[in-house]
Symmetry: D2
Subunit: 475 residues, 4 copies
């Protein structure tokens, strides 16, 4: 709501040894992953090869009611997806999982990430007679797997061959009549973990989904690895395409839930560390440290702990947010941020305030927030941002505002400081960012800060090539 | 509601010389075709190659509200579809028109009919790597056109080549970025007509759609003919596959609206003739002739006119029918037919009644209706049916109940008469049916009566091959 | 849709000797009465003095789904209502039945009609401290009954005393914890009948509701009569206020369903008679007689039978009408009537046509219909209207357009004939109208034609006095 | 969701000097008060004496969309309400504001609180002929004001007289054609404040509503005070019924938003103090202090600050809560609390944890939460509750679980400690609670802890007397 950066998606899958209510478990799992995508969601249940699905625009609790869950029936495998759109317009036909039938039977796919050669692959398939119903990368992946499936003896072999062909970021969950398959791209841009719930196996974008259904974390899927779960249990296929993970740094800074653990490191802990490093890099004398809810709060606590400056609660965020909230027109008197975020004056009045946020995108929201604190009587406002300025596009599944809109592309840090009305402004350095995942063998994709990406980036894509305009529904 | 036979679909298309509200015209046209399919509907608008669409389960006035029509925007071409399902489950993903993108750009297809070689074609395409999102024939047709489009210089050539490949019944409307194309199968099983509205051209399953938007009928599309409408106006491509039309006789007897004209013959007139022939074949002494609403009314009037027996209004049908009406459980006292259909006792009390209906499927509804009239005091009840008994399956787009359920497969006419409680029972002969389209060069497909079809019928199809169970929404 | 006159409401009540699904029976009964009001509806179920209810804007099958009916639970008494608004705005708070609690317990009331002294009574009660939630007459009646209930030993006595106080038209159904009460105003403006279903008693505005649930008609409630149904069965209380019924003539001509029987006379038969009298009063040489659906059809058949001119089907009405249908903007080419009503050209082409309708309100619809037939090739068009011109307001529950809009207030009959484009025009005379209910002891309120009413009419009412504007919901 | 205690309502009113979008301002204000009631809401707009309203079950952003706000139109006065039900069932007819018409014109009322003599008053009015549509206290208040209005020269005088008659807790907003009136009961159980926005005056249950629309806080309405706002501005009427405020202590502890200021004291500050006092009363040696979101967080920070034990983030609460979320059935493995609340293991593993919550109702939720932390590896768990045990009913608008369910009525503190699985358990003392509103002249109603109430409490009320069962809608 308040940000200009967005995650693409969350994926979930479950394989149960018997017929159970896998639809309900997927529902609960998707609910825990809701923060990764609020635009649409879907669940596919596999009952001995018969696939039942439902997907639509809306939050998990809006799209699924008791009747709809019930209609999905029982089964022993299910996959689910929550989506925020990057490639492909926001409409019902882009909702995932994608359910298709090829010559070997039905297949369902849920995908988090962004392919960098989707355009080339799409054209290649079209020249062989393919037709596309959506503008999703997922449909491209479906064709790639299908093509391989015709010449491979198993779905997992088809997925393995497909991974040689598709480039970019992907954390995939694929369901065939007999198997649940999870695959992560060779760079490991997006998280993907495996867990266990009794005799069942579970895969999910984040470990918080395991906690919600009472499952136990086993391990992360490795970059370039394929996990196959079937009646013989779980086994791993190494494509040898992968290397050390280079996770999108925003997963730690912004996207993931603090209670998730990625590549062995707690997201909450990483954010505490971000606050600690911010203090080391940009110390300041102050009376209170406050964070912008929700993702700035942990770093604020880390900053407070490291600095000895008291931690305070500076804002209350209105929790009754709904997609249907009507924004009043702006007038000189109103500040739309106030509707979502109110200052606790008590905390900041007559104080020197350190204000921690996770990013500055266009600058307008930061300006409004600084202004709110100023109006509430703060004497000084020292803004600290728990990541470096981002100045480059992301090709791997994060939807950052266009370059013209990024304030850091247009201004120096002192200029930004002036623009947003702060007394001082400090960004976390790239060096510190690289140390966030403590005690982990995890590297980061820092491309949006540095322009250096851990995988080839595409030449300019004729974006409109993909589009056939599809209207949003008004639901 | 009261019948066990159903039409598959209705199609509509409009090509305007300028940007106009083609969405609204399609909306009104589909509303006029609503009787051909009440399960789902959709509209696609083409604005200089940008396709906007919306489709969902529901009646035309339920699916489209002002916002949704508005969101479709203006354009110069549009196509629409209303659907009742035969092949393919009842769900949103089977709603038409189908909108896809192939290598030459977007394409939208609306289809009325049933292919007899869909299974073979589907397998053929799957073996080349095709994936299917639905269980529609329309998706098979899309692949066929796309395959041809790769080697043909125009969409119309691709459609022409596709017509050599697909078998069975089809009245198609295809939209490319520049063109509106209408095509009818070589046998002409389903109706398809062309009209004009000022500078615009219109195609529709029935002429009543032209009347509703104020368009003028030009002519029927001929069996095997392709009509192409683009900036150069309208032209015809003859595939030379076609012959004299062999229209599904149920179009006259039951499906089409009486105000439509098909192959030069008024549907209302054909039904009057059916009544007239019924009288000639099965005369009876009686006091009043009544019809079962709505499709039996015209034949009843024809019977009355021919016989001199007074025409009467025997039933009132409750018009506030909705898909969401809750059927009460049957008890010995209730008769579910009563909720929809009430007898006007005045008309039948102490009378010898001739009761005209268009068909007897399972016999249970006929039995209930006869019973209603008997309870209302009729002295004699002489049932006359305006078509022959049907005892064979339809492969060309009519959804008739399965053979086990067809009363005429299990009983002789005297047995049926006894079963439904009538005093006498007479069916129209095949000979008379063949004369219904007076002054027209139209022949009929009488396969459901005679077992002789005007085109090859498929061997037994493994129906479940196509299915991946998809749940109905509860809307 | 096509008319400017509307009925106010329909009422239904059932008393069962045991706990049964009275909600479902009321649902089916209201569905049969839906033609009397399509704006809102409601059902109240009485389970041993606990009243459960649900009401909302919409048709019966829209407002009630399985869950809602189920939530109403079982009971032994229920009442229901369908409403079109006359007094009181169109909104949810005016939906009936009204459910209130007074000092003796809960009470529910459903009302069809219009009080002529509502304003005076309202003011009288307000001066005693009453507050009003709605602009319904029904709320006024509730106060009147409640006031009496404080001094009477029974609810029926309170209703009897109330009937001395309230003036105008009312057919009431009242439910107390123990009793179902039906009451009809002393003039009998609106119909109200009693029936039996096994051990249960049923009351309804029209007998077609009895047929729909399999109940048997007993008799009409007499003007000024109160029917009480409780554990001792059914009994009658005569207030001695009533006389011979003076039914609103529009009940026969337009509102009631043809399959209903009112005051011993079939509605269908009355309409056939109207056609017969029309022929006698305004004979004409012609080739075919057609009626405007639905209410003109019976009179057309009566005209045809009497005259010997063949009866024809001139129009097809689109049955998929929904409140949500979007009217396209009028252009010179379009004729909005065409969307709902299409001519069967075959029937009228080159013919001299007698066109029967039940009324002419503003004249615009008649003009369009005549024009449709003219365009379809009719040689002559002779319009016959099955009631006299109406030129006076109705104070008793029929919503006629305002006087300025009534064409008969502005023009002579020859002028109207010219205006609507007919060759000749004939209205039924008041004398003939008075003979419509053959073999019945029923008189008519003809006030809208003659200005002579069977009960005092109010002085001008300051209409806005009642209003507090309440917005329509957009459902 | 996780608690068994509920606030009743929130009220809002605005008086503008000119015609403005008072509907939108009320919408934003109610959105800020949403935490006070999530069951239903409503807005009434006054345009020169014409009242337009809409209300329904649902959250503010669910009930009001753009169309509905637009339909309310412009006006110069508006009031609004959010509701959680205590007296009166959960249904649409109990939604507020109540809009009625009495002899002097329309009146709208929004009410927060609970009358203790509602039953007597209701009976008194019923004996004078009153009818009730709902089971709301608000309807009783309407009758009381109306009765006075008949003999008083102004609405404010009528309200003043009414305040002598009604007993219990109430913060009222009343709108007449010309005036906006706010009134608070003589004890001041519930908060009510006045603010200013340019030339407009605003009243609201909490000051956070002022912040959301950019209004400025003026002062609290005093106990027993009436505020009248009309074209002459704002003036105060002192009924002399009131005394020092005795605010419901739960407003500080649980209900109110931390960013609100009540009786001069910041809610956030009061909660920090609660934590501080908890430390003083129940010190413990520990490694981390965590709070249960959301209302335990502030007290946890206060405890941490006072004790020097580090503050930690122990839980993540899933924010995508919706009324429609489907609870899975409990199994031995699942813990429904996990779906809403997940532990950050990092924070508690191998630590001695102080866990702060605001209350223990039944004990089951506390037990589950303690268990979650134990499973996450906490060595010791010391539960501290920021209010005393409650063991008495509330008669003034807080909906506490029934006495049988209150764990503190059944067990001693050591027993509760054992039951919930904590190592130690400490409740805040009543003495400390009384000091929460620092520097304020505010006293508290502590009846639920002490059994001593600042106003008379009613004898046992025959609860069912009021009820006529009204079914919930399934929306």
């Amino acid at each position: 709501m308040l940000k200009g950066i967005h995650e693409e998606c969350g994926v979930f899958g479950i394989y149960s040894s018997g017929e159970t209510d896998v639809a309900m478990q997927t529902y609960v799992g998707l609910y825990a992953l809701q923060h990764r995508g609020q635009e649409s969601c879907g669940i596919v249940v596999n009952d001995s090869g018969v696939f039942s699905y439902y997907k639509d625009l809306g939050l998990v609790h809006e799209v699924f009611n008791k009747d709809r869950l019930h209609q999905l029936g029982e089964g022993n495998i299910a996959i689910g997806h929550v989506r925020y759109s990057t490639t492909g317009n926001s409409n019902r036909s882009n909702a995932q999982p994608l359910v298709v039938r090829h010559v070997k039977g039905p297949m369902a796919i849920a995908h988090n990430g962004n392919l960098t050669n989707a355009y080339e692959l799409r054209t290649e398939f079209e020249l062989k007679g393919a037709i596309f119903h959506s503008t999703n990368d997922t449909e491209v992946i479906s064709y790639a797997i299908t093509e391989q499936r015709l010449v491979c003896s198993s779905i997992e072999e088809a997925v393995a061959n497909t991974m040689k062909k598709i480039k970019g970021a992907y954390s995939l969950v694929v369901m065939s009549p007999q198997k649940l398959i999870a695959a992560r791209d060779p760079v490991g841009f997006r998280p993907l973990s495996v867990g266990r719930l009794g005799d069942s196996y579970v895969v999910a974008s984040e470990t918080c989904a395991f906690d919600s259904i009472g499952a136990e974390f086993i391990r992360d899927v490795r970059p370039g690895e394929i996990i196959v779960i079937d009646e013989n249990g779980m086994r791993s296929i190494e494509t040898n395409l992968g290397d050390k993970p280079h996770l999108c740094v925003f997963e730690y800074v912004y996207f993931a839930r603090p209670d998730s653990v990625i590549e062995g490191s707690s997201v909450h802990h990483a954010r505490l560390k971000a606050g600690e490093y911010l203090w080391k890099e940009h110390p300041v004398e102050a009376d209170v440290v406050i964070g912008v809810p929700d993702s700035g709060l942990d770093a604020a606590l880390g900053f407070a702990n490291a600095s000895g400056i008291p931690y305070g609660v500076g804002f209350i965020k209105n929790r009754y947010v709904g997609r249907t909230f009507i924004q009043p027109n702006q007038t000189e008197r109103t500040n739309s941020v106030k509707i979502k975020l109110n200052v606790i004056k008590e905390t900041v009045k007559d104080k020197r305030v350190v204000l921690i946020d996770d990013s500055i995108v266009r600058g307008t929201t930061s300006q409004r927030i600084v202004n709110l604190i100023r109006e509430a009587g703060a004497k000084e406002i020292h803004v600290r941002i728990s990541c470096p300025p981002f100045i480059n596009p992301c090709y791997f599944g994060t939807d950052i505002d266009s370059k013209e809109n990024l304030i850091a592309c247009r201004m120096t840090i002192p200029e930004i400081c002036r623009e947003i009305g702060a007394d001082t402004l400090g960004y976390l350095s790239v060096e510190s960012v690289n140390k966030l995942a403590e005690n982990s063998d995890c590297y980061f994709c820092n491309g949006c800060f540095t322009g250096e990406y851990p995988a080839p980036v595409p030449k300019e894509i004729p974006k409109d090539k993909f589009e056939f305009k599809i209207k949003k529904t008004d639901r």
